[in-house]
């Protein structure tokens, strides 16, 4: 009886320790590591154009399948294809993201209140108190936060226009 008690308690302590060790070594953490990867690929500006409060919730939604890979307009096609590659999906079966748009300030209405550039997640608006503000196109992601912040309603979002640099021949139409 004595021997069996010792053997069983040793077995219990040993196996318990082993379980504890395994839980540490093979821990998956609190979060799906895929979410972290996806979040790193997203722009990180938390602009909300995807319909989620920020890039992290969007990454979670993409991973659990409730959001499309095309939900991020600032990321564009490049992001779609890298996401598809990371998630092992065929990029040709996925549609195209919405065309990115840019913010424009109607200068005749701008009062220089500085509210728009305070909310801009990429610091894409330049200006100072009581000076006309202007958008730097190359930094704008078209999130529209400035539009919501503007008390004069002088900011509009326009689709990005094709210029000589971005124009290219269309795909040949051929049956």
């Amino acid at each position: 009886m004595f021997t069996s008690t010792i053997v069983l308690s040793l077995l219990g302590v040993g196996l318990g320790g082993l379980l504890g060790l395994a839980a540490k070594v093979f821990s998956v953490g609190e979060e799906n590591p895929l979410v972290e990867d996806i979040e790193g690929m997203l722009p990180g500006s938390n602009c909300g154009q995807c319909g989620f409060p920020g890039c992290k919730p969007a990454a979670e939604a993409i991973v659990d399948g409730s959001a499309d890979l095309t939900c991020c307009p600032p990321g564009g096609k490049a992001l779609v294809s890298s996401l598809a590659e990371h998630l092992g999906m065929d990029p040709s079966t996925i549609g195209e993201p919405a065309a990115p748009s840019l913010a424009y300030i109607k200068e005749s209405l701008c009062t220089g209140c500085t509210r728009c550039f305070k909310v801009c997640p990429t610091d894409a608006i330049v200006g100072a108190n009581k000076q006309i503000h202007s958008v730097i196109g190359s930094a704008c992601t078209g999130c529209g936060k400035c539009k919501d912040a503007c008390p004069e309603d002088c900011i509009s979002l326009e689709p990005e226009t094709v210029d000589l640099d971005s124009w290219h021949w269309p795909k040949p139409q051929w049956a």
């Binding site: 096609k77 610091d123 190359s138 930094a139 021949w169 051929w174």
Partner: protein, 505 residues
């Protein structure tokens, strides 16, 4: 083993060169009333104007500077006044508007006073390269790559052979041919100047064998110079492409993804050599070029020395106008040139030709399915498999196309030319290359956005920390002043500092 052709693939299209090859370059075209100088460049960032609207300018005066990267300065082609900077139809197949400087000619053609210059061969090569940059010279063969950048690259590498490219292989084009016939001495001097700058061991002027007069003229001009040799290469398309010419002349193949520098060879076009000679010996910046005005719709096809900014309608008018309505208007050669949206666009640095082609010359046919005959494979001068590449592009699988070497495609159009099913193969590759370029731009923007967001977060954190530090400093100084004075004398101060302390804790 005996090789029939010095290069892989290639095609032999009808040359159509005889209309203009034996006619002198017309150099006295009247200066148009207005010249339109687009700020966009065929390569690199747009130029930035340095003269204001209403300012008088002299011929050869710098009016716009390079916008950075691979673009070049722009000089006034004649004297007059800058009257506007406005949108014009760009000489570009898209037909999109692009800003251009509008120069009103005063008819006097007054040149800018230039200091007298000494023999360029005694001067420092670096200085000469800078002068070439100042003269706004770009590769006139078609690539529009700034020549100074190429010269500086040439100085960094050890260049064994400098090849001057006289392999004008595009049908219809005879600008280089005429230039070699009429200005052989200047081209030879230009070639020697480039050699002086890049310190090349040998110079070879390579000319296709369908230009016997040009070969004779160059040989005569090159005779007194030992290091300079005129090489005759077989005429075929695309012999004028740098990689193909290098292979034909030296037998060396430039490996995929590498430049000619890496094999110790530098290629410059004959027209560029001429422009460099003019800039270094006479201080003449690049303000004009020889343009072939051809195609069967032109009444009197000629080579014309045209000022940059000359409207194409003016140029066609000077060559007798149009005999009939052209089916297609092309800037450059028929193989690699671009269609023009309008006759009212100006001549630019890269305009080697204006072709007004009749419907018979265009010969547009609707494509049939691919029969996998592999003629495009035999024709491809880069040794690629166009039919497989096109198949991938058709399915928008750009990665697949890249594994078949889309990156190495030079868009010469040989595959489309030989295709018995009239499949527009090269159009697929142009589309794919454009799409890939836009994807690269988008990826860059994404990285830039991530960088900006991070920078903003850091800035906000820093600002918050600075605010906190300032606040605690203020509080400390207040505490000190409060403890020095009697507590009863400053009731307002102590009461105001209390909420701050609460907030901070």
């Amino acid at each position: 083993m005996f090789r029939f052709s010095p290069i892989k693939g290639g095609i032999h299209p009808d040359s159509h060169k005889d209309h203009t090859a034996n006619r002198d370059i017309l150099t006295s075209m009247p200066i148009p009333e207005r010249l339109y100088l687009p700020l966009f460049q065929q390569a690199g960032a747009s130029a930035l104007p340095v003269v204001g609207i209403g300012d008088p300018v002299l011929k050869g005066q710098q009016i716009a500077v390079t916008g950075g990267g691979l673009s070049a300065h722009i000089h006034a082609p004649t004297s007059g006044k800058l009257i506007a900077i406005e949108d014009i139809v760009a000489p570009h197949p898209s037909g999109l508007p692009a800003p251009a400087m509008v120069l009103e000619s005063d008819g006097d053609d007054l040149p800018l006073e230039q200091p007298s210059i000494c023999n360029p061969f005694t001067r420092d090569p670096e200085e000469l390269a800078t002068e070439v940059e100042q003269a706004g010279i770009v590769g006139l063969g078609g690539a529009i790559f700034p020549s100074a950048v190429k010269l500086r690259q040439g100085r960094r590498f050890e260049i064994k052979t400098l090849i001057i490219n006289g392999g004008e292989c595009e049908p219809y084009l005879t600008t280089d041919d005429r230039l070699m016939q009429e200005r052989a001495e200047q081209i030879v001097e230009g070639a020697r100047l480039i050699q002086h700058i890049i310190e090349a061991y040998a110079v070879i002027i390579a000319v296709e064998d369908n230009k016997p007069n040009a070969i004779a003229a160059l040989k005569k001009a090159a005779a007194p110079h030992g290091k300079l040799r005129v090489a005759v290469v077989p005429s075929m398309y695309p012999m004028g492409s740098a990689k193909q010419l290098i292979q034909a002349v030296t037998g060396e193949e430039v490996p995929a993804g590498m430049r000619s520098n890496d094999v110790g060879i530098l290629v410059h076009n004959v027209a560029t050599a001429y422009a460099i000679q003019q800039a270094l010996c006479f201080k003449r910046p690049l303000t004009s070029r020889v343009v072939t005005v051809g195609g069967s719709c032109i009444a009197s096809p000629h080579n014309v020395e045209a000022l940059f900014g000359t409207p194409i309608s003016h140029l066609i008018e000077y060559c007798g106008g149009l005999k009939r309505e052209p089916a297609r208007l092309i800037m450059g050669g028929p193989m690699m040139g671009q269609t023009l949206p309008s006759i009212n666009t100006p001549v630019m640095k890269g305009t080697s030709a204006i072709l007004a082609l009749s419907p018979e010359e265009v010969n547009e046919k609707s494509p049939d399915p691919c029969i996998r005959c592999s003629r495009c494979v035999s024709a491809c001068p880069m040794g690629l498999v166009p039919l497989e590449m096109a198949k991938h592009v058709k399915a928008d699988s750009f990665d697949g196309a890249q594994t078949y070497g889309l990156r190495d495609c030079i868009l010469c159009g040989s595959c489309s030319y030989v295709c018995p099913s009239h499949i527009p193969l090269v159009n697929y590759f142009e589309y794919a290359k454009g799409e890939l370029k836009n994807q690269r731009t988008a990826a860059q923007k994404l990285a830039y956005t991530q960088q900006l967001t991070k920078a903003r977060e850091e800035r906000i954190e820093k600002e918050a920390a600075a605010k906190k530090a300032a606040k605690s400093k203020k509080r400390r100084s207040r505490d000190r002043s409060a403890s020095k004075s009697t507590p009863s004398s400053t009731p307002s101060e102590t009461s105001s500092s209390e909420p701050t302390a609460e907030n901070d804790s």
